[in-house]
Symmetry: C2
């Protein structure tokens, strides 16, 4: 085991150590009054019950995939084992993060009684636990498995076994991710939409009112969707990107595979250290109320440190001025690609904030449109959502051109790896959101004085923006990461075709990825329709879950009239239980869509036109799913954020303020935006990558079977 | 001039003759009471004033393009002349159709007093005028210009001059089309949304109430948007498809160019005859109320006749069993491709009806979701809109695979040509919609008894479905047609590269359309973002126009309190005038997007990476705009139709009926669907093709300049 690999794994360990210490620090804080503890316990119980059910279902599905992998690869344990590692670690990161989150919420409420700075500190540290666990587990998972395969098991770094093992590890992470994003998303938005419809609109009671039987479910949802689901999503994006970069390095530059496979891991390692240091820069100056500024301070510090560290790392590994091994580019070029990755991150963060922040034209235009009614609010929101795709797409395009010209496909991969290497910090910013959201709910339900709620509201508003920003980042990086996966797919086929003795299945294959090949067009269309169909299924699932909540809450109001008078306690557990069932049931079919589609397309086109056409069509499908997926996902997450904040902007006293007709229209927009931004949109991200990874594994299985 | 070409032009003449006779027949019908005539006159005046302004603006833009074409092609009159012919004929078809439409509306109201069958007959015949003029003008335009170039001017059919002339003719049609679709769409939906918001929602008066100052504008909008705009759209699709098929035939099989260029024209000719005969099959049996059945009777008759006629035609031209000239397929294969085109038409019609008809799950699910509020109605509608893209995409994919395997790219082109050849009949079904819509408005405003309104309402409901069906057809065929254009682009480049002496600019060009080329990915992303950005602009334009209407109507209500009491007449003209200005102003920028994008991308990528990369990126852009455009357009038009009919379904007494909370929610969905289905969605169709045609002309200009 090389010293470098040891250091990489140590960096992952450092992240987990940071997490462990921070958990201790947060848990030692006071958890408030008995009433607060009681509410927090209800949330904890609900969240744990949900995750238990979810993970049980996923475990069953996962066991099935495990067996299929065993069969597909002739009982070789490497792919199936990699799959299991990816799945278990992804689940662990989400689960532990969620456990902390549901305990930090009440402590944040308590800290908020002492002021904004204290509240921010607790919530952010809780988020940082999830962030560091995501990055740490991910890095240890890939680097550890890579070490196991190349060290003790003695496979060459560039061997197919290692490549397939890494791809299978990615599949494990992706499968958990799509389940968690969908299941969590359906749960949280079912609770949110359903609870609001019957509580705010029908019964006229405020959000988080303890009389609403869906209110605990709503708070549970924040944790299982926005915390555990998001953690699984970014774990997945991290693992897939780093693994794809390693695979690409090993295929493109087989002679120097070890170096090119170590480089992305090393970037991950130094960025974890940068992220940990960065967390200490998140600090509110005395008297300041600029929470977003405090958070950005941490992000910028992390980015600057990462830049310096990557420069040193690259210089040490490759030197700056000479071509690296057999590659036609220098270390300096690679470093610049990394810097471009950071720049893309910064630009996407900024664009997302522009489209979802209350200070700018888009959100204000939605707020203004609310004056003329529900319909115009929705029209303007949809228009903003579609417009919001243009700039990120152009940024990605410029990133592709710049990095490709510097260092080819590996340059693109390096840029994405660098983007993702900051995941620890980015997840911290995001996981902070559900903690503050819960903290506000607990303040409301336990009847704390208004100033506490004001403090948590201020934190929560920032949480809304960071949530949108993270999603823009996750999807932007997913778009680029998927390109790397697509490149891996094409290079893989090239490799197989070039070695017909080794891989006889590919002896007579001649793929043609030219757009003038009709099977490429077929693949583009079929891939293109997946995000639309998947998004539709996800939105309908939320609608169904929300309807179930509405009926349950109506039933409780009807059968126990004491609830509305405050003399009787609603049955919070029933709503949680019902949503759990609904979410788990609804997440399965859409999750299978990206898993099965590449296989079905391969076999159908293969039947009609042979395997070359089939492999071309599947390749084009990967690109199709990226192209429409990127636009669908960005439009949904940005649009949802804009609707949410347009409502907040009106609640701040514009266009008639709370209770006005404009506000009612804005509430409609917010409701529409909920499944858009928190269920369908973010789930498109892992869905894109599953399609790609399944295709890669299909290739591996075909090559192994032959 | 060959006899065949003469017959083709004669068939076009026959269509115009049919139009002229039908105009006479419709105009000779009684136009009702003085009050009815007065209202109809107001609508006529408004529509004519609008179109005058619109065509003036288009003429200015067109003159600019004319000059640019002259300059780009070294003062060669062929491209500029073709452009002018396409533009003028497209404008003429829309204008004449609209003139008939605004005169048939009142006559339909009058006929409706005598029963459903009479009403249907007048409305359908009025629609058939527009339909036949579209098909006739289009066929005469292409066949005539082709004759002029190859006959009197003596160019060889396969010469570049002829190819460029036909492409330029398509550009003329496309430019009118995008302007007319956008301008008309903004006008009609600005009036509709704005009028409803302030009339139905604020003042609580019914639709088409004469007290609403926007009501005449609303009726004008039906004509300028749904009649003239739609006519320009289908004229464009027709011209572009037939021209692209000819171009493809001439490039792929240069030795037999004349035959392969005549074939699509001949298909157009026999289908016009079939359509004319088909119109006589639209007839309501005594006592029957199955209007849709009567219309489908005409459509099916046309389809069957067309199938037989194409079989005979193909057999006569090519024989069935031997390979045609230098091509590797037989006449029978070509005929089957045509039959597949008809089957695709049928399937898309059926799928669209499933997603937008009140008898099926999707619309009913939207209606059901309205019970729990505005938000859930919109969520479900969006979900339906996204789901509705899947089946049409699969049908198109199957069509591509089947026809390509039968007769290569030319087989795909033949299928699309056959689809479009039925345009005469399809437009008739669609143009029937605005006439009946207006007829209902006139009945309402002139205070006719309720039974008349019931009759026109029954016709109008069918009009809603046929409108959705036509849009599905137009967009499905546009998706396939654009593929043909893309094929023409790639084959064009191949041709230029293969003849470096003739086209020295292309001597050192080596395009690479493989998906692994990053510039192809860049092109796909940039192309992919265009429909989103364009759709966003169109929706915002409607929002702005509607706001202006709301303010104007509010002002009139405020300043003239007599209007609401019915003692004072509102100033209808002001609303029309204001909307005209708004629509014309707002249509220009989005229309320029597809024109300029290919040029900008070409020059930017060319600067960075040279002309081969630039030409590859532009090619990929064409595919990108098709892939996302197809999904965006289908989702918008189907979703809008579903929202509209969900409202109608509730109004029919389900889920609480008119005035219930569910109905209010459904009105919101309908409002959202308005710009979706009538402005942004249908305008994406010509937008896709303009991008493609501009790229083709760019190639032609580059080759001519060299």
């Amino acid at each position: 085991m090389s010293l470098a690999l040891l250091l990489v794994i140590a960096a992952g360990g450092l992240a987990i150590l940071y997490g462990a210490f921070t958990i201790q620090a947060v848990m030692s804080l006071p958890a408030g009054t008995a009433r607060m503890k009681e509410i927090a316990a209800a949330i904890q119980e609900g969240a744990e019950a949900y995750l238990k059910t979810q993970y049980t279902t996923i475990a069953i599905a996962g066991a099935g995939v495990f067996v299929i992998l065993l069969l597909a690869f002739g009982f070789d344990l490497v792919p199936a084992g990699g799959f299991a590692i990816g799945a278990v670690l992804s689940g662990a990161a989400g689960y532990v993060g969620m456990l902390v989150s549901v305990r930090a919420n009440v402590r944040t409420t308590q800290a908020a009684t002492e002021g904004l700075g204290k509240g921010l500190s607790v919530a952010f540290r809780a988020g940082a636990v999830t962030g560091m666990l995501v990055a740490g587990f991910a890095l240890i998972g890939i680097a550890g498995y890579y070490w196991l395969l190349t060290g003790p098991l003695g496979h060459a770094p560039e061997s197919r076994t290692v490549v397939t093992g890494l791809v299978a590890l990615s599949l494990g992470a992706s499968l958990i991710s799509v389940f968690a994003r969908l299941g969590g998303g359906i749960f949280t938005k079912g609770a949110d939409v359903g609870g609001d419809l019957v509580g705010k609109v029908e019964a006229g009671i405020p959000e988080d009112d303890p009389r609403n039987p869906a209110t605990i479910a709503d708070n549970v949802g924040d944790n299982v969707g926005d915390c555990a689901g998001m953690a699984a999503d970014l774990f997945e994006t991290y693992v897939v990107t780093v693994a794809a970069t390693m695979v690409l390095g090993s295929i493109l530059y087989a002679a120097d595979a070890a170096q090119f496979m170590l480089y992305p891991l090393a970037i991950g390692a130094v960025c974890i250290v940068a992220s940990i240091i960065g967390t200490f820069f998140v600090r509110l100056r005395k008297g300041s109320r600029n929470i977003m500024g405090a958070l950005y301070q941490g992000l910028v510090a992390t980015g600057v440190l990462a830049l310096v560290a990557i420069a040193v790392l690259t210089q040490q590994m490759f030197g700056f001025s000479d071509p690296i091994g057999g590659a036609p580019f220098t270390g300096l070029s690679l470093f610049v690609c990394g810097a471009i990755g950071l720049a893309v991150t910064g630009l996407i963060v900024w664009i997302t904030e522009y489209y979802t922040g209350t200070a700018f034209r888009p959100v204000r235009s939605v707020a203004k449109a609310s004056e003329s009614g529900h319909g115009t609010n929705v029209i303007q929101g949809l228009a903003v959502s579609m417009e919001a795709t243009a700039l990120p797409a152009l940024v990605i395009v410029i990133g592709i051109v710049a990095t490709y010209n510097l260092a080819g496909l590996y340059g693109i991969a390096t840029a994405v790896t660098t983007m993702l290497a900051l995941a620890g910090m980015i997840v911290a910013l995001d996981a902070f959101g559900p903690v503050t959201d819960n903290a506000g709910g607990i303040a409301e339900m336990s009847g704390l004085e208004g100033s506490v709620r004001d403090t948590t509201d201020a934190l929560d508003a920032v949480g809304n923006t960071t949530k949108a920003v993270t999603k823009g980042y996750a999807i932007g990086s997913a778009g680029l990461g998927a390109l790397v996966l697509f490149a891996a797919y094409t290079e893989d086929i090239k490799h197989f075709v070039a070695h017909p003795q080794e891989f006889p299945f590919f002896a007579d294959v001649a793929v043609n990825f030219a757009l003038s090949n009709p099977y490429v067009v077929v693949g583009l269309f079929v891939g293109g329709l997946l995000p639309f169909l998947f998004g539709s299924m996800a939105m309908q699932a939320v609608g169904r879950a929300a309807s179930a909540v509405v009926e349950e809450v109506r039933r409780q109001f009807r059968e126990r009239p004491g609830i509305m008078q405050g003399t009787e306690k609603p049955d919070y557990g029933r709503a949680v239980e019902m949503l759990t069932k609904a979410a788990i049931k609804q997440m399965v079919v859409p999750s299978m869509l990206p898993v099965l589609s590449p296989l079905v397309l391969y076999f159908l086109v293969g039947l009609v036109a042979g395997k070359s056409a089939a492999l071309s069509a599947v390749g084009a499908m990967l690109m199709g799913v990226i192209v429409t997926g990127l636009f669908v996902a960005i439009s949904m997450t940005a649009g949802g954020g804009a609707w949410d904040n347009a409502k907040k902007y009106i609640e701040d006293g514009h266009h008639g303020g709370k209770g006005s007709d404009a506000h009612k229209a804005a509430v409609t927009g917010d409701t529409v935006g909920d499944p858009y931004k928190d269920t369908a949109g973010p789930a498109v991200n892992p869905m894109i990558k599953i399609t790609n990874i399944v295709a890669l594994l299909l290739l591996a299985a075909l090559s192994a079977a032959s």
